[in-house]
């Protein structure tokens, strides 16, 4: 009975994994992963790890994947298939389409050799005798609060850091999006001091940069009105460029 369940769960898990890799639409990939995770939870149950299975469904499939769904919905997930070249620079896609399965196969083969070869001869296939309370929340909880207290606390700290980091990364910058105006107030630095921030356009843009943006918005305007862009844009940039050099 358990063998049958095992095979069903395993096949579903593997199918889900394949779906993640091969489905075009990232949304479908997410859903395939959810399916995979549930199958994995079933496998955990077969291994008598009740709590972990529950945690897997509730936390992983339930929370993390929901987060994923939200992001995929927001970002939109372009339909980029593996290996499509969108022009320009060299891409590894072409070569990787061929090589990646090979690499994967290589690792699979090695693992199989490791598994089926020498590594598991010493392991009894049946596992240890079942002890009541194995895999229960009580046991896991006790372990977390006694032997593995430090990793527990470290993990919570990690969660805090991740949460703060996520907020910082994804927060909306003040100002308008289309023009990508800089973060915060421009600091009192002289123009063209050559800081990286300046080059990235984040700090104290000079006249040239503002002219650039003005030109860009003027360009956008012109495209809408189908008029030629202002000629002033290249000149200040060109005039400023030699100054920039020294």
């Amino acid at each position: 009975m358990s063998a049958v369940l095992f095979f069903i769960a395993a096949i579903v898990a593997i199918a889900g994994a394949l779906g993640v890799v091969m489905l075009r639409n990232p949304f479908y990939s997410v859903l395939a992963l959810v399916c995979h995770l549930v199958a994995l939870a079933a496998l955990f149950l077969l291994l008598r790890a009740e709590f972990v299975a529950a945690a897997q469904v509730v936390v992983y499939a339930g929370a993390v994947m929901v987060l994923y769904v939200f992001v995929v919905a927001y970002v939109g997930g372009t339909d980029v298939s593996a290996g499509r070249l969108t022009g320009g620079a060299e891409r590894p896609s072409g070569a990787l389409r061929v090589l990646a399965p090979l690499f994967g196969l290589a690792i699979a083969v090695e693992l199989c050799i490791a598994l089926l070869g020498t590594a598991l001869r010493g392991i009894s296939g049946k596992g240890a005798p079942y002890v009541l309370g194995f895999g229960t929340p009580e046991q896991i909880g006790t372990e977390f609060l006694t032997r593995y207290l430090f990793p527990f606390e470290a993990a919570s700290l990690l969660l805090l850091v991740a949460a703060v980091g996520a907020v910082v990364l994804a927060r909306r910058r003040r100002g308008l999006e289309p023009d990508e105006e800089p973060v915060g107030r421009p600091r009192s630095r002289p123009a063209y001091t050559g800081t990286m921030a300046e080059v990235a356009g984040l700090l104290s843009p000079g006249r040239a940069q503002r002219a650039d943006w003005a030109a860009a918005s003027a360009d956008a305007q012109a495209e809408r009105d189908r008029r030629a862009p202002e000629p002033t844009a290249p000149a200040p940039v060109a005039a400023a460029a030699p100054e920039d050099g020294r």
Binding site: L47, A49, Y68, V75, L115, G127, P151
Partner: protein
Amino acid sequence: MAIGWYLAVSAIIFCIGAVGVLVRPNPLVILLCLELMLNAANLALIAFSRMWGGPDGQVFALIVMVVAACEVTVGLGLIVAIYRRRLAIDVDELNELRG
């Protein structure tokens, strides 16, 4: 079932995940494949925990889950930020640091 079967499944899932990382250009999907690899590792841990009869593997697996969650959070935050800057969501386009 013998432990070996579980480990074999874990190995297969891991390799599928590795191939997925290499093949898909969408960073979201790459993160998903990373999740696959982590899950494969979790399965192996649980299997061994069952084999030895101790809870250590399960504890480890739970911690791995926590780490995976954090990583997903930060990764998705990055992708959102990239999306906000109007850059393509394609790791081949994102091959240069700016500044």
